[in-house]
């Protein structure tokens, strides 16, 4: 198992690289990262504007196309399909050829996916502004976009599955388990959530599917991609293997079994039969144990490398994201109980939870990946070290503040609501919380702005060439690298 692992295993034991990872694929990686950054920028601004509506101050003209409700859906959908998906595609183009020793199916298909996927997001953006939303939370993509998303998923399957299927080493590395399952889950989840409740079943029969969809998009697409990314980049940067292979197995199979069973917990208290609600509660608490094993695995991997937290900004993002992941999942295990549900369901607590997991975990990991990859993609050293630090601290403090203020406001709101306070009183109570939330949002925007500025200036202005010390040892064609049996 892991005891005799060597660095090559931990890094996925890349095969000779020259023929498999060509510079032009790096160009695709770069374009996906730029697209992800663009959509993140739009989504963050949308979130800021919407938070100002809650302060009774709408900054945009009062036109139908810029209606606050539509902007809210732009915020969530561009994060899911614009930012996260583009970033994960970049990650797949970087990792899959290195982990499998096989090139992706086709470079031309890569450009097609890049163009098609971003056109789909553009269509979603326009459709939402035109009021064409579909009543599926986190899948408000207009109904005429839905079939295109499924086609896009098919293209992604065609691009990456052949490489994984023909991997040089048949016993796949951990990251590839997550990718193998996560890509098929994306398609199945999307079809289940966007077609069944829209065309086939109504009301109480459709409700559980909406819950499954919201949950599975996080749990069966974003989470597997995120963990696959972590299992790849953390050992590469630290130059040491993952602590325990057994815990990696427990983590993956636990996630695969328990995660899809939890969706109904988004509608506890609805008319969905109670046996379904209870099964969702039980499996949500069960996965907390699984999550703990994964988190322990990573913190044990980090043990003794604390110096990296100071030196390596990517590791800092990964570390903080993992800590936030543990907090999020611990929250899950409690907030899913019916005792907590009485108070915190329908309040800002849930909004804080969603921001902690989507931004505090997966976006932080993606920022870590960008911090790691960008100099390699443009071949230059980071333009400004202080901007890197600024972006980390502004974003981290902003997100922590947003999480705390939303959670506190949510608890207060929940108890006032339970005590039958008039809604007007609740709104007045929430005003300072919402004001602070907007401030933390501004901090986040400045933090991410620092990152974007640094990325642009690195590509344009930075004078120092980047020397790749992370992949150099593995990618010498003449050097035979043995992939150990895992």
């Amino acid at each position: 198992m892991s005891s005799n692992s060597n660095i090559q295993e931990a890094g996925g034991g890349a095969a000779p690289a020259a023929e498999h990872v060509s510079p032009s694929e790096n160009v695709i990686v770069k374009h996906h990262i730029v697209a992800a950054a663009f959509w993140l920028g739009v989504a963050l601004l949308a979130g800021l504007f919407y938070s100002m509506q809650l302060l009774q101050h709408w900054p945009l003209p009062k036109w139908a196309v810029l209606s606050p409700g539509r902007i809210r859906m732009v915020h969530t959908n561009l994060i899911a399909f614009g930012f996260l998906t583009n970033a994960f595609l970049a990650m797949l183009y970087w990792t899959v050829p290195r982990l499998t020793g096989r090139a992706v199916l086709s470079r031309g298909l890569g450009w097609l996916i890049l163009g098609a996927w971003n056109l789909i997001i553009l269509g979603t953006w326009i459709g939402l502004h035109l009021g064409e939303a579909q009543a599926v939370e986190w899948g408000e993509t207009p109904v005429w976009i839905d079939p295109l998303v499924v086609l896009g998923a098919l293209l992604v399957w065609a691009q990456f599955y052949p490489s994984i299927f023909r991997a040089r080493e048949k016993a796949l590395y951990v990251s590839l388990w997550y990718f193998s399952a996560g890509l098929i889950w994306l398609g199945l989840t999307y079809i289940m959530g966007n077609f069944f409740p829209q065309y086939l079943v109504a009301g109480n029969a459709a409700g559980p599917l909406l819950g499954l969809y919201i949950h599975d998009l996080v749990g069966l697409f974003v989470t597997p991609m995120g963990w696959g990314m972590m299992y790849f980049f953390v050992p590469i940067i630290l130059r040491r293997p993952i602590w325990s292979h057994a815990l990696s197995l427990v983590g993956f199979w636990g996630l695969a079994f328990f995660y899809p069973l939890q969706g109904v917990h988004h509608f506890l208290g609805s008319p969905i039969p109670m046996f379904a609600q209870y099964s969702a509660v039980v499996s949500t608490i069960a996965i907390e144990i699984v999550v703990t094993t994964v988190v322990i695995n990573f913190f044990m991997t980090w043990k003794g490398t604390e110096g990296y937290l100071k030196r390596s900004i990517p590791i800092r993002w990964f570390w903080l994201g993992t800590l936030n992941y543990f907090i999020t999942c611990l929250q899950c295990a409690f907030q899913v109980t019916l005792t907590f549900q009485q108070v915190i369901h329908f309040t800002d607590w849930v909004v804080g939870h969603a921001h902690l997991v989507m931004f505090g975990v997966f976006s932080f990991w993606i920022f870590g990946m960008i911090e790691h990859l960008w100099p390699k993609l443009v071949g230059r050293e980071w333009w400004s070290q202080s901007l890197r630090n600024w972006s980390f601290w502004l974003t981290a403090v902003g997100l922590s503040g947003m999480f705390l203020v939303l959670t506190a406001g949510g608890v207060a709101e929940g108890f006032m609501s339970l005590n039958l306070a008039p809604r007007e009183t609740i709104l007045e109570m929430l005003r300072p919380f919402w004001f602070t939330r907007t401030l933390t949002g501004v901090m986040i925007i400045f933090g991410v702005g620092c990152l974007f500025t640094n990325m642009a200036m690195t590509a344009i202005k930075s004078r120092m060439a980047h020397v790749d010390l992370d992949y150099e040892p593995y990618e010498q064609p003449e050097k035979e690298v043995r992939i150990g049996t895992i």
Binding site: L54, L55, Q56, W58, W63, A64, S67, P68, G69, M73, G131, Q134, A135, K170, A171, L172, A181, I184, W185, L188, M192, F196, P197, Q198, A202, G203, N204, A206, G207, P208, L209, L210, L212, L220, F252, A256, F257, P260, L261, G263, V264, H266, F267, L268, G269, S270, P271, I272, M274, F275, A276, A280, Q341, F346, T347, S417, L420, P422, R423, I486
Partner: protein, 243 residues
């Protein structure tokens, strides 16, 4: 356990299908015999506010729904109003479900039940996950049409702390008369809960809680009839629900 085909088949497909069956398909069984009502069926029984709306804004009404009889016009209004309700993300700040706990019943009336949702306008259902404003599933008729006309234009005018956005595009150019969109949204909101006895929200009006929680009685329209077949398969589940 580390090979592609095993991971793909067992984790990727089998576990997913298993979970879909457990939390998606089995919960469908208790309601499989409920008829899904069409908009036209529901439009046969418009609420009182709809007739009133027609009398209040005859010209706008003529312009929007001219040439349709009352029920056709109401069906059209429900369709347009529902599309707006979804497109403006109303359902992200207003839930449409009353839970059996958390004092929801004291605030909004008896807990939600499946028949309420088995219609074309709940494909997908608009349960929502956040309540910035009140729950709307039984909200119809609590406010007058006039209140809604003033409220949609600039909510803080009638409710100062309200954070609801303005919807000036629901109105003709004069900013006073609702256009087709406005009439339809008001019709949709006033229709919500028209199948139940009306209740009030404040703590001083909770007479309906004096008795024990009785099973909710559907006044009109009648819930779809399929009681014979429905009882048999749902028995174990129905028992569990009452607990």
């Amino acid at each position: 356990m580390e090979r592609f085909s095993f991971v793909f088949l067992v984790a990727g497909v089998i576990f997913f299908v298993f979970a879909f069956a457990v939390s998606g398909l089995i919960p469908m069984l208790p309601v499989q015999d409920l008829e899904v009502r069409t908009i036209e069926q529901m439009a046969q029984d418009p609420p009182f506010e709809w007739t009133l709306l027609q009398e209040q804004y005859p010209e706008a009404f003529q312009k929007a729904f001219g040439g349709l009889n009352e029920n056709q016009a109401f069906a059209e209004a429900l369709r347009v109003g529902h599309k707006q309700y979804v497109g403006e993300a109303c359902w992200h700040c207003h839930s449409q479900q009353i839970r059996p706990w958390g004092n929801d019943e004291a605030r909004y009336g008896p807990k939600s039940f499946p028949e309420e949702y088995h219609n074309e306008l709940n494909m997908p259902p608009l349960w929502g996950t956040r309540r910035i404003g009140p729950d709307l599933i039984r909200r119809g008729g609590r406010q007058s049409n006039d209140w809604h006309v003033a409220h949609f234009y600039h909510p803080p005018d009638v409710n100062p702390p309200s954070v609801m956005p303005d919807y000036p595009w629901f109105y003709e150019e004069d900013g006073l008369t609702p256009n087709k969109t406005g009439l339809s949204v008001i019709a949709y909101v006033q229709w919500l809960g028209s199948w139940m006895p009306r209740v009030n929200e404040t703590i001083y009006d909770i007479d309906h809680l004096d008795g024990t929680y009785s099973a909710p009685a559907v006044s009109h329209p009648e819930p779809p009839a399929a009681p014979q077949q429905q009882q048999q398969p749902t028995d174990p589940f129905a028992e569990e629900e009452q607990n």
